[in-house]
Assembly symmetry: C2
Homo-oligomer: 436 residues x 2
């Protein structure tokens, strides 16, 4: 009898009946038709009613066994054969790159038998996964967290920022941070502010498809990130992800202007309102933007974040109650994703005014995501200004949220917080050009 | 002495001193430099401290007179010379198009002297503004509301839907709705659901730049909208807006898949996740999508909306308090804009479960905007399903919000509401294709 890790109850009984083990390719009859996939061990969602198959598309599906009419093993799984070869010795004089793992799947060791993903914990394992790395840099991997990207919090941002700052003191030439893609953009913005002025590149990288899938972007993205961290002439915080659906290159995005704009495409990340910082192609960095920070200066990290900021998106008949709710929650600042140039329903505008008069801060961005808020064009905008709402130019709403947490965490007075919000700290706003 | 409408206090004294009248081109010295613009009358924001100039860029700026060092009149304004010519007689047999105005600037008569914008209230005025209309259709303009687009509510959607349904009974060949661009996408979604199955085209149209600006998109968009409403072979609710920054054509978007993606560009509106329904160029509709509804069938309008729906955008350390706040507000449904494939912080997931167990409905969309939610891939998604959160495929968050209001308004049981949400009523979801 083979491995049935994590299965119990009806699910276990079903698997025993069809003589399946983890790693086997299984065919099952569901109400909706026939499905074929590899049986995966169970971890997070451990009822006794579901079996989990990894489909050929790479996605896992949980199937309720009570709905399965039949099942049979098409192919027995092979025994795991993974073992780590010794890492190649890095050539002398290569740049030193610190790689920090936070729990994304990119720097993971995939058990090809079961599809289960384990973090690559050692330099040896990392090299065995992506041997090309040894050509790019002398890499030093370190696992910092192993959490789901949607559970990343400002406390994790602080820890990461501190570790990167220590990396600068340890004279690393660059830092790579592997991260789940869901909240990668938020973390990139957080580090951009916390580490503004950093004299080395910090390259955040993720994968939209895990490394066991034929279309995985993990290896190319990671090689590019290490290469950029090692060799780029510019410094600062960036995101390196696929440029397009094929493997032609890796886009380098500024940490404050990047957004995950698609749930699953490999080129899901986009720079909004600015050109890419550059493009990595076959080991070279091309199309480098003007005005990027250079590898110089002394870092003075400001790593604190105050979580008491609420992001509210405006919409027709949005209840002013949401503003009151934020206040009750103890929010010190509210970032609004207004419509168009930065507008909201009249009742919401009045409630924001009350929030500001009670000592809160309110900032306006646009849910259009591209373009700039302008509160001087229409009456609603002027009312917002009158109520004390501060417009944030063309800052992305997500970046504005993160920046407000950072500004509150690193200032003692209201004036200083607003001053930080209005200052262009890390390329989060661009200079206005008139459209006509 | 000329006209100084709306000015009082210091502002009036300043204008009298520099001998300016409304309509004059004025040069003023501010702390930030010299500004030149046309003096505009005051309406909405009537303190006595500001003068308002319309700059050459087309934007109005309010300037505090206490900060003005000097001012002088460069050029006296001309007397207004606008008068309505008689509308041309429409050629016999032209399609009949109903044009409903809601307060957007597009169908407005602009006083070129002052820059003030008035709704075009009569057929005569509309023709005098855009004489090309008479070639396209026998148009019947009607002003329904004169409100700011950010103050549009579900009650307005209901009124509009009822009026359009009456237009169908009145045997109009098509309907055009002029609308401010801020919330145009929300209204388009609302009408798509309320009027699903409508046998004529309903074309919503706006302008990103008012008609007095050299770069205005108002005339081209309006001509295209009328032409589409009159002549398109397809039926349903669409949005017609500039295809690109130049005047090459007008994009036709499906009402449930369109979004304002830029604060100010003329091609701000984009269809997400689907091709355009078509493109209007020089009077012809080209590149028509397959599978659009046809001009047939009998309309059974479902025009009610229930406002008790809250849209929440998920982000790192989003407080579960926001879910509790929505509940306290009396929300019957919450639409979440999750991260990535549809995720949220673990505490938020648990609170959504409590909301559902207390009788609420929770729906999941993605803040990525493009791509599809999938709650089967990761543990967080499976937890969301376990808590009773309903995933909405690739429905846009804004469309999902509007649809939830509509589904609640037009169903009596929870099952029926969820059933409507999961049904593809008006092209709001597309069929899944696997990415690999």
């Amino acid at each position: 009898m083979g491995d049935l890790s994590g299965y119990r109850g009806d699910a276990l009984r079903f698997l025993l009946r069809v003589k399946a083990s983890v790693g086997d390719v299984l065919e099952v009859q569901t109400a909706g038709g026939t499905l074929v996939g590899t049986l995966v061990p169970r971890y997070a969602y451990e009822d006794g009613e579901h079996v989990v198959l990894k489909l050929r598309t790479g996605y896992n599906v949980g199937l309720k066994v009570s709905g399965l009419r039949e099942g049979r093993v098409l192919e027995k799984g092979e025994k795991p054969s993974f073992s780590s070869p010794a890492p190649p010795k890095p050539a002398k004089g290569l740049p030193r790159v610190l790689i920090l793992g936070t729990g994304g799947t990119i720097a993971s060791r995939v058990d090809y038998r079961t599809g289960a993903v384990h973090p690559a914990v050692s330099s040896a394992e990392l090299h065995s996964l992506v041997p090309e790395l040894s050509r790019e840099a002398d890499v030093h991997p370190e696992i910092m967290f192993d959490i789901l990207s949607e559970n990343m919090t400002p406390r994790h941002w602080t820890e990461l920022a501190k570790r990167v700052a220590r990396g600068v003191r340890e004279r690393f030439d660059g830092v790579v941070i592997t991260h789940g893609t869901d909240t990668l953009g938020y973390t990139a913005a957080a580090l951009s502010f916390a580490l503004a002025g950093i004299p080395i590149p910090v390259v955040m990288v993720g994968a939209q498809r895990s490394s066991d899938r034929p279309s995985s972007d993990a290896a190319l993205n990671l090689v590019a990130a290490v290469s950029i961290a090692a060799g780029a002439e510019f410094a600062g915080v960036y995101v390196a992800m696929h440029l397009s659906e094929d493997d032609e290159g890796v886009a380098i995005h500024r940490g404050t202007r990047v957004r995950k704009n698609h749930t699953s495409r490999r080129d899901a990340f986009r720079s909004l309102g600015v050109p890419l910082a550059g493009v990595w192609r076959r080991g070279r960095i091309e199309e480098i933007s003007e005005g990027l920070p250079q590898r110089k200066g002394r870092l003075r990290p400001r790593v604190r974040f105050d979580e008491k900021v609420v992001l509210l998106k405006s919409y027709p008949s949005m209840p002013a109650d949401l503003v009151r709710g934020a206040k009750r929650h103890g929010a010190k600042a509210i970032v609004v994703e207004g419509t168009g140039l930065g507008h909201a329903d009249a009742a919401v505008v009045r409630e924001l005014g009350r929030f500001v008069r009670a000592g809160g801060l309110a900032f306006m961005t646009s849910q259009c995501l591209e373009g700039r808020v302008d509160l001087n064009v229409y009456a609603t905008g002027r009312d917002l200004i009158k109520e004390g709402v501060v417009p944030l130019e063309d800052m992305l709403p997500e970046t504005a949220l993160v920046k407000a947490m950072w500004a509150l965490g690193n200032s003692r007075t209201r004036e200083r917080t607003v001053g930080l919000m209005e200052e262009n700290v890390a390329g989060e706003t661009t200079t206005r050009t008139f459209p006509d």
